[in-house]
């Protein structure tokens, strides 16, 4: 795995050096920061169920940030390599398919975590500004961030797979956005009775329901296992697809 580190660094660097990276980071911080401030202002007027953490994680703005950030972070991973022709140089270097997929995925994960990192400072920044914050439940907050990391991990793995199939970044982003949108809708939309088997599965697969547990401070091992398994399965599929490309 000698090539893992240079590939990982290259992915991280490419994300923040290209124009898309700073724009995504600015957009992400703007909407999450504004949302946190508005929530804090509202909750300072009076208590609400679950407090600030519950209102922040799993809110529509939170899902918007998750839904937009994952496709934007992963869309260029393979699609850009194929479009520019650099995939040929990459795959003829002494690197394995596993190294390439894992390094690119780790680069996207690192960028995702770097986007979320500043949100840890929001309560302290507001307090410094003299805001009266409702009391924070640190356990629920930690669980909320753990849930965000796990859900983000599976979202990014799905985005990477979409990027592998697309020949243009925008196509990869749209495909990833659509699939993630459908996944989020699974627990929120009432399915017709004839789709009975899917209806039974919906609560198990529903990502918003998983997040509802995390933001309440509950770390459900089923949700953890589901997201980790989905991530491993998607990455394994990506590796096999990349291997099969040599035979195509």
């Amino acid at each position: 795995m000698k090539a893992f580190l240079p590939l990982w660094k290259r992915e991280l660097q490419a994300f923040f050096l290209t124009s898309i990276g700073p724009v995504v980071a600015a957009f992400f911080l703007l909407i999450t920061g504004t949302h946190f401030w508005l929530l804090a202002s509202r909750l300072a007027q009076g208590p609400a169920d679950g407090g600030l953490t519950a209102a922040f994680f799993g809110s529509p703005v939170y899902w918007l940030a998750m839904l937009v950030a994952s496709p934007l972070l992963t869309m260029r991973l393979f699609a850009e390599e194929y479009r520019s022709g650099t995939m040929e140089s990459l795959m003829t270097a002494p690197v394995s398919e596993t190294e390439v997929v894992l390094a690119k995925y780790a680069g996207a994960c690192a960028a995702f975590l770097l986007l979320w990192l500043p949100t840890l400072s929001y309560p302290f920044v507001l307090e410094l500004c003299g805001a009266r914050l409702p009391p924070l439940d640190w356990g629920a907050m930690a669980a909320g961030y753990l849930g965000t990391a796990l859900i983000g991990a599976s979202f990014l793995a799905l985005g990477l797979l979409c990027s592998l199939f697309a020949r243009h970044q925008v196509v990869a982003a749209i495909a990833s956005l659509t699939l993630l949108g459908l996944l989020l809708a699974l627990g929120s939309v009432e399915l017709p009775a004839r789709l009975d088997s899917v209806r039974h599965l919906a609560p198990v697969l529903s990502v918003p329901l998983h997040m509802a547990d995390f933001r309440s401070g509950i770390v459900d091992s089923r949700a953890v296992t589901l997201h980790l398994s989905a991530t491993v399965l998607l990455l394994f599929t990506s590796i096999r697809i990349l291997e099969a490309r040599r035979l195509r």
Binding site: A3, A14, M91, T92, P94, S96
Partner: protein
């Protein structure tokens, strides 16, 4: 390990795509110190061959060994010994020349002082000093090509595979590239694809001519030209009987007959690498056909290439007039 002299060994290589067969069982070898050119019309399988040799594509069947490493069973070891420049040298345009080459060096396991030294050496050798800090997106085609070549050389590979390295370069750059190829060929084996036939004879010890996925010739350019020569003769013989006799002559192909005045027939045929003039004289003696002249029409390498890559049928001009 195979014979260390053979750095590229290709045996019965085939490659099928869903809708076509790109390569139909080609075999060739390139030894250390040799520069070989891969020639052929568009779609003849040159890029597919290079992509398989570089490890980018897997063959459908057949065996490829690079510097003694089997590409199928030891792909990473084989790729460590290869420097590959894809067609039009695609590069990540957001990176700087120095950054890109350092990244490529690290991918190949170069680290620390060794990497620094190699970077300095390839920058000098490929003339990249002036653009070292420039972004790849801002470079001319020539400099991008040089950056691609510097990337190929970084890890001092035994085998260089270059897909049309001369395409799109100005005359000065072409000359620089030729000198560079000669120098690279001294240390290892170089296999490059090209459409520029005039570059092949002075540069290459071996020319591999592909046509529709088949290897039409694999030899030195001089021998290929010599093997493509035609034998011309004038015989006093009825053209139809002469045509039948020549068809039975082993090694003769592309037979053309033209009756000329007073019962004489001008005959021309491709004799291949064999010297068939003796056989023709024997044939004439057996049939009591007098021979007025026999001459060998030499061909240039370019003419030989055109003959090998255009499917010439055996043409027998119908006799205009029976010999008396």
């Amino acid at each position: 390990m195979a014979d260390a002299d053979w750095l590229i060994e290709v045996d019965q290589l085939t490659r099928r795509f869903p809708r076509c067969e790109a390569l139909g069982g080609i075999s060739f070898r390139v030894r250390r110190g040799e520069i070989a050119a891969l020639l052929g019309p568009n779609g003849s399988g040159k890029t597919t061959t290079l992509r398989i040799l570089s490890g980018f594509l897997a063959p459908s069947s057949g065996r490829v060994r690079v510097a003694g490493c089997d590409l199928q069973t030891h792909p990473l070891d084989a790729r460590r010994r290869i420097g590959y420049l894809p067609e039009s040298a695609p590069l990540p345009l957001d990176m700087r020349v120095a950054e890109y080459l350092a990244f490529r060096g690290r991918l190949r396991g170069l680290r620390g002082r060794h990497l620094t030294v190699r970077l300095r050496e390839v920058a000098d050798r490929c003339g990249l000093g002036d653009v070292w800090r420039r972004r790849l997106g801002s470079l001319s085609r020539g400099f991008r090509q040089r950056t691609g070549l510097a990337d190929c050389l970084l890890h001092e590979p035994d085998v260089l595979l270059l897909d049309e390295p001369l395409a799109g370069l100005d005359p000065a750059q072409v000359q620089a590239m030729q000198e560079w190829l000669i120098e690279a060929g001294r240390q290892g084996a170089v296999l490059f694809s090209t459409h520029v036939l005039s570059e092949v004879e002075p540069l290459c010890q071996q020319a591999l001519i592909l046509n529709a996925g088949r290897l039409a010739a694999a030899d030195s350019p001089e021998r290929i030209a010599r093997a493509s020569a035609r034998l011309r003769a004038e015989l006093f013989a009825p053209a139809d009987r002469l045509a039948a006799a020549l068809e039975a002559l082993p090694g003769a192909s592309d037979i053309r007959l033209q009756p000329i005045a007073d019962g004489w027939t001008d005959v021309g045929f491709h004799s291949g690498p064999e010297e068939l003039s003796g056989s023709l004289e024997d044939l004439a003696a057996d049939h009591h056909w007098p021979i007025r002249s026999v001459r060998r029409e030499s061909r240039t390498f370019a003419e030989a290439y055109l003959r090998l890559t255009s499917a010439l049928p055996i043409v027998k001009n119908p006799p205009q007039r029976q010999a008396s």
